[in-house]
């Protein structure tokens, strides 16, 4: 921009010698955290936040969560790049001058917008809900705390922040909350493994920090599989029709605890004021525990042992274990849950924190039908593809707890207002993903009485199929009964000899000479269920049809297909050895040689993989001196081996693999294949002689099918053993990670099962396609799709229970995003940037 200004100046100088250029207006610059306050417009003073609770709607007025006059809801947003805090007016109808929502200029004497300077990289803020005179800002860069008078943000005369160096030098604090009594700040010091309690002395003065070292003991995690049925956590769900019986997430033993270091690294703080005795939960990025602190005494209580380090937390209010009955009242609310982001892989886990007296207290709960069962299911990949890593989480609870008045079902004939998956009343979890989307999970839905045609009262007629389950993805669309998950279109082979051959509902194929039939399976074995054909006929294909777990994906079953990512131009025959060196690890890609096929298990009897040399003969063989008889003889033989035509086309030379191995320390050539005799009449020595330079090749299954998913790729149980040899890992094999299918055998993986018939007589390299379709869409907001092509990076989610809005901070593009959870449906209401 600087150069643009300079160049613009230069061009203007050529034209009229007027070098002035307007200064660009300040805007959000890498916002990170947000807090709220309520402003009394008549008194020009901050007032308790609850004063900004929305006034009742009038008639058909749109729900904009407008506070009653003379109040206006405001937010403060940290700007990490500039070291500032910006004030934003959230509410306002814009009908009167100065009532527009938007960013506030804190110093009208300076052109453009002025924010409050608060030190290097402000990372967190704390403000009293009841007495919001000052906001305290934590500076991660300066390891300081700044106090700012809230009124200064609105008086237009500039904001002065007072710095307090009360934290230990080099602490680099990460998070801060106000104590329940409002008499102290509590900050997390990850570098020191401590919490700091900083007393508020009145008039904005801060006392010296009192430090509390966090414990390092890691208790045994609670093992739900050892608890009797009566002590298991409740398993709440609602389905319509009520005989719909989706698979329940199975109980699994807790993971072996994994730490990222020896010392605690407290990262984020969550103050829970719901129980009679408030608790402070502390996410630890190093140790596999969530610390539990009494925020009054700063005494550390027994931690929650969750097996992995965590980086962010969210807790629900107490919710009932039973469905909300039509018309109410609310059953006794006895359950509550702590959600956490796994620091290692950024998945989300849920912990039972209902009652410390229960044996399931502190257990990581099952939440998915497919592995990993102890993590919330992620149905979709990120907007840009790739891993859907969680960046932030928040619990939202619009209209919860409900009042004493019976809830109505609103207007079932109004698609926008009717109870639906996209209309959130109750308790839900929101998860912001690194790719820019926010997805939602059910905890407790107050609308179940209005959902499902034939089940709920006044339900939308299009809302026939309903599935709502605790900790399961919120389904965002209305579904018809015939829209169940299934294989669609019908399974079909692609064959060289016969073109496209569809598999009939009895498994037969019209061109049985070229492609095998599918044979009926005895049963599907949950979590797989019948996916083709739909109806009473015996299952030919089983897949995950659970509405919360099913994923749209296409399976390709290719005879002697290429193992993905094995095609390379980097093979090098080893001097004096029947081996080929590779520039990748064949074990990681799932390659196995004939010598290492196990005696039992689904690979028993497998012939092992093979390399197929796909490249042309190298120039040193082709470009010969015509008078060199030896070279000509070699060329003739090589052309014979490769079936090389005058046009230069070759037939791949296939060489079985006896053993595959890898050595990560071997440098560039980290993989090795020991080869057997080539197929056909050539010897391995002849092949080596024909390909003296780097080899262009790929690795294929031999006399077997390669099964590949569009979603999970080629799954396999091959791993490197202690000697570097590629072998079947029994632990992975137990998870049915299978990448190869065989004639007259049943193929079964965690995602699909089918059985191939006998080998046809005229076998080429046929390919079967199985597509799992009719998938219900999970509810999601894609912040990355807002605006015009700007990229998003979500870093924060905050639910404000005063205006019942979810706020997301998109650091890269959109700034502060205000999301309305209902009425009419989940939608982005405003963006401030």
């Amino acid at each position: 921009m600087r150069r643009l200004c300079l160049a613009t100046t230069a061009l203007l100088a050529l034209a009229c010698n007027n070098p002035t250029s307007p200064a660009p207006p300040p805007a959000f610059d890498r916002p990170e955290s947000v807090v709220f306050f309520c402003w009394d417009l008549s008194e020009a003073a901050p007032v308790p936040l609850d004063q900004c609770a929305p006034r009742p709607l009038e008639g058909d007025e749109e729900d904009r969560a407008e506070p009653p006059a003379p109040y206006a809801l405001h937010a403060l947003v940290t700007q990490t790049s500039t070291g500032e805090v910006a004030a934003v007016r959230i509410s306002g109808d814009g009908e009167e001058e100065g009532s527009d929502p938007g960013v506030i200029d804190s110093d009208v004497r300076v052109p453009g917008f002025t924010f409050a300077a608060v030190g290097e990289v402000p990372s967190a803020m704390a403000i009293s809900r009841a007495e919001p005179d000052r906001v305290y800002v934590l500076s991660r860069g300066a390891s300081s705390i700044y106090a700012v008078k809230v009124g200064d943000f609105r008086d237009g005369k500039g904001v002065t922040a007072e710095a307090f160096d009360v934290l230990p030098a080099g602490a680099r604090p990460s998070s801060m909350v106000l104590s329940p009594a409002g008499d102290a700040l509590i900050a997390a010091l990850p570098r020191r493994g401590e919490l700091a309690r900083i007393p508020l002395l009145g008039d904005g003065e801060l006392g010296a920090a009192e430090l509390t070292a966090l414990q390092t003991d890691v208790p045994e995690p609670v093992d739900l599989t050892l608890l009797p049925e009566g002590e298991q956590p409740s398993s709440y769900r609602y389905t319509c029709p009520d005989d719909l019986d989706p698979f329940r997430p199975p109980l699994v033993p807790p993971r072996e605890p994994v730490a990222r270091g020896d010392a605690p690294e407290p990262w984020s703080l969550l103050l829970d004021e719901t129980p009679e005795e408030p608790r402070l939960y502390v996410a630890d990025r190093a140790l596999p525990i969530v610390h539990v602190i009494d925020p009054t005494t700063m005494a550390e209580l027994a931690p929650l042992s969750v097996s992995v380090p965590t980086r962010a937390l969210a807790v629900t209010p107490y919710v009932p274990s039973e469905r909300y009955p039509p018309g109410g009242p609310l059953p006794e609310a006895t359950e509550r849950y702590l959600y956490a982001i796994d620091e290692i892989d950024r998945s989300v886990l849920v912990v039972d924190v209902s009652d410390p007296m229960r044996s399931s207290y502190g257990a990581v709960l099952p939440a998915s039908v497919a592995a990993p069962e102890d993590r919330l299911a992620v149905r979709e990949q990120s907007a840009g593809g790739g891993e859907e890593a969680a960046e932030a989480i928040a619990v939202l609870s619009p209209d919860y707890p409900p009042g004493d008045e019976p809830r109505d079902c609103r207007d079932p004939d109004d698609p926008e207002d009717a109870a639906s998956g996209a209309n959130l009343y109750g308790v839900f979890l929101a998860v912001a993903a690194r790719g820019g989307s926010i997805r939602f999970y059910d905890v407790y839905d107050l609308d179940t009485g209005c959902r499902g045609d034939g089940c709920g009262a006044n339900a939308d007629g299009a809302d026939e199929l309903v599935a709502i389950g605790r900790h399961r993805p919120r389904l965002g669309t209305t579904l018809q009964l015939d829209e169940t998950v299934k294989i669609t279109p019908d399974p079909a082979w692609d064959s060289d000899g016969a073109g496209t051959v569809t598999v009939a509902e009895d498994g037969s194929v019209a061109e049985a000479r070229f492609v095998p039939p599918l044979e009926p399976l005895e049963s599907c074995e949950r979590p797989l269920e019948q996916a083709y054909p739909v109806g009473p006929a015996a299952p030919l294909v089983c897949a995950v049809t659970d509405p919360w777990a099913a994923a749209g994906e296409r399976f390709t079953v290719a005879y002697e297909g290429t193992i993905p990512f094995t095609a390379s131009t980097g093979g090098n025959f080893v001097e004096g050895s029947p081996a080929l060196d590779l520039r990748y690890s064949p074990c990681a890609l799932g390659v196995i040689g004939a010598m290492d096929v196990p005696a039992d298990g689904y690979l028993a009897g497998y012939a092992g993989d093979a390399i197929a040399i796909t490249g042309d003969l190298p120039p040193s063989i082709l470009d010969i001196d015509p008078d060199d008889a030896d070279a000509q003889r070699l060329l003739d033989r090589c052309e014979e081996i490769t079936g090389r035509t005058v046009g230069g086309e070759t037939t791949p030379v296939v060489v079985p693999i006896e053993r595959a191995s890898s050595d990560p320390d071997a440098g560039v050539y980290s993989g090795r294949l020991e080869l057997g005799d080539p197929m056909g009449d050539a010897t391995l020595d002849e092949v080596r002689e024909c390909f003296p330079e780097l080899l262009e090749f790929e690795i294929r299954a031999r006399e077997a099918f390669v099964v590949r998913s569009s979603r999970t790729g080629f799954t396999h149980a091959i791993a490197r053993d202690d000697d570097g040899v590629c072998v079947v890992d029994p632990t992975l094999a137990e998870r049915d990670l299978r990448g190869r299918a065989f004639f007259d055998s049943t193929y079964r993986s965690p995602a699909i099962a089918f059985r191939l018939g006998p080998r046809p007589e005229a076998l080429g390299r046929p390919r079967l396609e199985l597509t799992v379709g009719d998938i219900p869409f999970p509810l999601q907001i894609d912040v990355s799709s807002l605006g015009s092509g700007e990229t998003s990076r979500l870093v924060t989610l905050v639910y404000n229970d005063v205006d019942d809005r979810l706020y997301a901070i998109d650091q890269a593009a959109q700034g502060l995003v205000r999301i309305r959870p209902n009425q009419p449906t989940l939608t982005v209401q405003q963006v401030f940037r």
């Binding site: 643009l4 160049a7 230069a10 300066a142 680099r172 593809g385 891993e387 993903a433 990076r793």
Partner: protein, 452 residues
């Protein structure tokens, strides 16, 4: 308008301005750059210390002559010991402006090299520099001669002496075309060279330490050229050109301990990788091959990557500079990604608009990353161990290339827009402080002054 667009417009405006000026008199040979003139510095490198662990003596600066103000760009060696004395004399004053006119001893050597250099790399023995030269569509090589006691100089053929200007290298130092091709492949070097990387052949093949150097030259259109430099007094020889990598390449970086280079492109989220296959028996038959790419997935949307750097202390840790979103992406190479072909993304750290270059470094055993952000006009410091941005250093005009002088606890930053070199002290970071600008080398040459 996002940072990239603003950057693009800025460049366009400058080029138009420069073009208007050039159009006035196309026949003139142009003025040579006066001695001791920084002119749009684009690339930096530190000299080889005399002994391991010692401080480097010189900072090499490639001046791009971006505005075509002169008839050539230049290569300059800044004497860091002279700089040390001058910085000490400023006593921590941030207004320590060191004009080269006032401190001629700062420039130990300089030579004209052609316009629009776009990178700078030092041979492993410290005796030669390689530069991608866009004006010549070639790789330039210039020897750095340290005559103990008699100062230092650049040797590049028979430099042409120029009245009132610095001497200019002759064309022998530009490698291109059939004459410089080592083998029978009849290669021709074509395209727009944008980045260079090099290393010892003995590090990637079973060859003796004196076998020489390999040099990779990345071309904007997705081609990479392999040169071998046997260090025998001759220049590097072109032995292979590999094609088909992503277009709009920006940087090429060698992965330590492997014969694999990582390529970033401004139009894709895929990091292409090129492998070097060394024929130990006949190195001239060595060649490049496609090592396969890694996609930086799971972010929105990663389709503009500017640089990859590996952490010297931990070869399993790499950092990628992304402009979509504007962030430093850390990779854990020891962790297998859930999807093969995906880069194992570990963490994202926010930086400012127009991120351009990055340097990972260690201070007191902690890992930090510095990222220059051209459009934000700031330098961002990330504590990669704590996992957070911890400082933002402002006061620049167009921060671009940067190098870390570990022995002096400093970073040298090329401020492209004002044609200055900024000297930044990292020692406050040891005490929980913020990096401090301690000196600025050179006089401001802004775009407006091309009208002079």
């Amino acid at each position: 308008m996002n940072g990239t667009s603003r950057h693009g417009l800025g460049v366009l405006a400058l080029v138009v301005s420069a073009g208007l000026l050039v159009a006035c008199n196309l026949d003139q040979e142009g003025a040579p750059p006066p001695p001791r003139t920084l002119n749009y510095p684009i690339a930096l490198a530190l000299s080889q210390p005399a002994e391991a662990g010692e401080a480097p003596r010189h900072l090499f600066v490639a001046n791009s002559n971006f505005d075509l103000r002169y008839n050539t760009g230049s290569l300059m060696a800044i004497d860091l010991e002279v700089l040390d004395d001058l910085v000490a004399g400023c006593d921590g004053n941030a207004d320590c402006d060191l004009l080269l006119e006032d401190h001629p001893a700062l420039v130990a050597a300089e030579v004209g090299i052609g316009t629009h250099a776009d990178g700078l790399s030092l041979r492993s023995d410290g005796g030669r520099l390689y530069l991608p030269l866009r004006s010549e569509e070639s790789l330039a090589w210039i020897d750095f001669v340290d005559d103990a006691g008699d100062g230092v100089s650049f040797a590049c053929g028979q430099p042409q002496e120029v009245d009132e200007g610095i001497p200019r290298c002759d064309d022998e130092v530009y490698v291109a075309g059939v004459d410089d091709v080592e083998n029978e492949r009849e290669l021709v070097l074509e395209g727009d060279p944008v980045a260079v990387a090099n290393g010892r052949l003995s590090e990637i093949a079973d060859l003796p330490d004196d076998a020489g150097e390999f040099v990779l030259l990345a071309m904007r259109d997705g081609r990479v050229a392999l040169f071998l430099d046997e260090g025998d007094g001759e220049g590097p020889r072109l032995v292979h050109v590999a094609e088909g990598f992503a277009e709009n390449l920006v940087t090429v970086t060698m992965q330590p301990g492997t014969g694999v280079a990582w390529l970033t492109s401004s139009t894709t989220d895929r990091i292409d990788r090129v492998g070097i296959s060394v024929d130990a028996a006949n190195p001239s038959r060595s060649f490049l091959y496609d090592f396969g790419g890694l996609r930086v997935g799971g972010i929105d949307d990663g389709e503009d990557l500017r640089e990859v750097q590996f952490l010297a202390a931990d070869p399993n840790r790499a950092f990628v500079l992304s402009r979509r979103p504007e962030a430093v992406v850390s990779l854990d190479l020891a962790r297998r990604s859930r999807t093969f072909g995906e880069a194992p993304v570990e963490e994202l750290y926010e930086v400012g608009a127009g991120p351009s270059r990055l340097v990972p470094l260690q201070i007191d055993g902690r890992t930090y990353v510095l990222a220059s952000c051209f459009d934000a006009q700031k330098l961002y410091l990330i504590d990669a161990d704590t996992g957070a941005l911890i400082a933002v250093v402002g006061g620049f005009s167009g921060p671009f290339e940067l190098v870390h002088d570990e022995a002096r606890d400093r970073v040298y930053l090329a401020d492209f827009s004002t044609s200055q070199i900024r000297v930044i002290d990292l020692s406050p970071v040891r005490d929980d402080g913020t990096p401090q600008l301690v000196a600025t080398i050179g006089e401001v040459i802004a775009a407006g002054s091309i009208l002079d």
